[in-house]
Subunit: 161 residues, 2 copies
Amino acid sequence: MILKNQNEWALHCCVVLAGLPPERYLSTKALAEFHAVPKEYLSKALQSLSQAGIIEGTLGPSGGYRLARKASDITFLDVVEAVEGKSSTFACTEIRKNNPCRPAKYRDPKPCGVARVMWEADEAWRKRLRATKVSDIANALADEVPGDILEKTTAWVTAHT
Amino acid sequence: MILKNQNEWALHCCVVLAGLPPERYLSTKALAEFHAVPKEYLSKALQSLSQAGIIEGTLGPSGGYRLARKASDITFLDVVEAVEGKSSTFACTEIRKNNPCRPAKYRDPKPCGVARVMWEADEAWRKRLRATKVSDIANALADEVPGDILEKTTAWVTAHT
DNA sequence: TTGTTTAAGGACATTAAATATCCTCAAGCA
DNA sequence: TGCTTGAGGATATTTAATGTCCTTAAACAA
Ligand code: SF4
Ligand code: SF4
């Protein structure tokens, strides 16, 4: 089990969009070039984010995407669920029903213990993702990335705006 | 991202093996029949468990598998990692390196914030899996499964021992 | 000794999912 | 009018999951 690349791409795109001047848009083309990933495929991830209401797009030259709400209102889980889906990472196929000793008509009163634990683990994962916002990472960049690189990057993004 | 079926199968097999009379073995054939899953493929999962030292097998008629240690010493994480692998569910492809504004020689002082969060979420998932043991589920069965089904199942398992 | 049963594991074949590309469409803009 | 953009459908390619088949050597019973 491994998460899709889309997650990494989408998260990074959100962080970049969080640094955009207000009311400006950044195109899929620019985001793809910036991260050196295939534009057409990245586009699918951005469409998912758009459908989830995390970013919003506009058409025409000088069009592209911007965050649909404040970066401090967008959690990692929002982004990951937009890309990866909301369903649990554990799929129970109810193999306990196959126990040859069970009466065919027997109905289980509740999900089996195995599934419950796996689902709780999935929820623990989501809980952690819910705890970090896009703005947290955007802010951390200022501390972790050398000033000159950060400046040049901001200039690059603004130029492609 | 979805976990392999092998996880569900392996966990259930461990729970069944936990209910085995001491010093007895249960074969892949029996485990596959009990859960109604393909014997050959289940065999791969059991081999993984065996390699991980969670179960141990013996040959010949009346051979099969048994737990290699107490059920209370086997966590869900042990089983899942045996089947699914120990590497993080988030693979960082270091796309930040592709930023066109970065000097080619620049070395990042530490993993980027995005990856750190994703790895922490992965660890939160594992932590929850580590908190439950195979014995916990085996014990819970007594409460959740009607007595007659449980008895018949125990008899079935013992008969295939 | 001989034949049967078993786990171990290598070599596939099949199926589903992730990844990637291409094309059309209508909205925005110069 | 012509170019740009995101939206989204269709399809191809690649990789991972799933499933099957086969051989080998150990255990055991007749
Ligand atoms: S025992 Fe739990 S995990 Fe296993 S098949 Fe039943 S419900 Fe699913
Ligand atoms: S920013 Fe983090 S997650 Fe993204 S490529 Fe770099 S290290 Fe990986």
